[in-house]
Amino acid sequence: MKAKLFDYIEKDNFVFNLSGMTKLLCFLILTFTVMYSYDARVILVILVFSFWVLHLSEIRFSQIKIMLYYVLVFIAINFVLTFLFSPQYGVELYGSKHELFSLTARYTVTQEQLLYQLTKVLKYLSVIPLGMMFLLTTNPSEFAASLSSIGVSYKAAFAVSLTLRYFPDMIRDYNDIALAQQARGLDLSKKERLGTRLKNIMNIFVPLIFSSLDRVEVISNAMDLRGFGKHKKRTWYAFKPLVKNDVLALILCGLIVLGALCVAFFIDHGRYYNPFAT
């Protein structure tokens, strides 16, 4: 269990110097565009764009290796499950059937299904660099500022920043308690039966949660004493004001989204790109 979630290593380049608000907005609108579009060509453009941005941001491969591994496993499982549960979903979507070869009567591989599933893989792949980029290139103290600047209530934004602040403490507490309980002979490994293991996990949860509730008390008193929540608005120490590059990045993302929407409305007449229609 790592106490650090991700490494924020400051660099001086185009992506790092953008305001957190810009990166959050770009991340959100591009993610939602990819969610909406089922046109492989549009998604390919966004995929290339997002990998280009990842390259620009000079994030090292070792920083994203584990995420990449998780994502690939997830994509593989989803790919297999989709085919197992709905082998003819593509046929339904595109309204035509071009068989490639058949395994059994139900599991016939069609071009439509292949296009649908490959588009889906591309969709997943293309949003990953965007999320990683936002996480790894934004100073964690700037998260709350960027959230509140896109219109989230500052109280909710503050909760997010508390979460990030106290996550490492929680990990440390959990490890301390788990080690103390294991020293008393509590077995958490697979050797124990499921029921006993659940009970043993509860023996860690209880002190962890009670100490957290005490912590809630202490922190909220400290915040109340400093007058938190007195005004409707607040300013942020870590907020980076928008500069020329931010406007540039926002316009670029805006153009991509506009392009994707135009393709959907005027060329595909819907979310799906259908090369099989005659």
Binding site: L5, F6, T31, M35, Y36, Y38, I64, M67, L68, Y70, V71, F74, I77, L81, F85, S86, Y89, K120, V127, I128, L130, G131, M132, L135, K155, A156, F158, A159, V160, L162, T163, L164, R165, Y166, F167, D169, M170, Y174, L194, R197, L198, I201, M202, F205, V206, L208, I209, F210, S212, L213, R215, V216, E217, I219, S220, M223, F228, G229, R271, Y272
Partner: protein, 185 residues
Amino acid sequence: MKKLFEFKTKTIVATGIGAALFMLLFMYIKVPTGIPETDIQTAYGIGAFFAALFGPIAGFLIAFIGHAISDAVQYGSPWWSWVVASGISCCIVGLVYPRLKVDEGIFGGKDILKFNLYQILANAISWIVVAPVLDIVVYGEPANLVFTQGAVAALSNAVSMGVIGTILLFLYSKTRSGKGTLSKE
């Protein structure tokens, strides 16, 4: 009188701490059931516990923030339909908040029943209706796959909330002293 949608400093802090706990459990502490990819997420037990203590807004934000950040850290990008469903499930559990008096040390048989009714309702709505429908509408996933996943999630999360949530609430109520419990010797 407890207000349903109050958002005091204490609620905000409880949300932040709760979400950090939720993340920790969500990422690392799962109980495998034997079926691949369907672990019992202990995190929902904690989410329900905090929701019952601090109300629906705290519940929603704890699950939403916790799920979104852990997805982002693990997969690079949150899976929004399930993140929203997570939030809604803990939000609905939070609706039970004005009806409970755990703070005053009262959590008897009737309260356990109430909490579990809300919890089962919450899981049914969010995992059998909200998550699959959002998956189909937003992500264009095939219907029978997402409804199967949703049903499994509803069941395992209901177990997690029912067992862990109930036990925690019960133990917590034992540590609180109620009104007028002092007696003269």
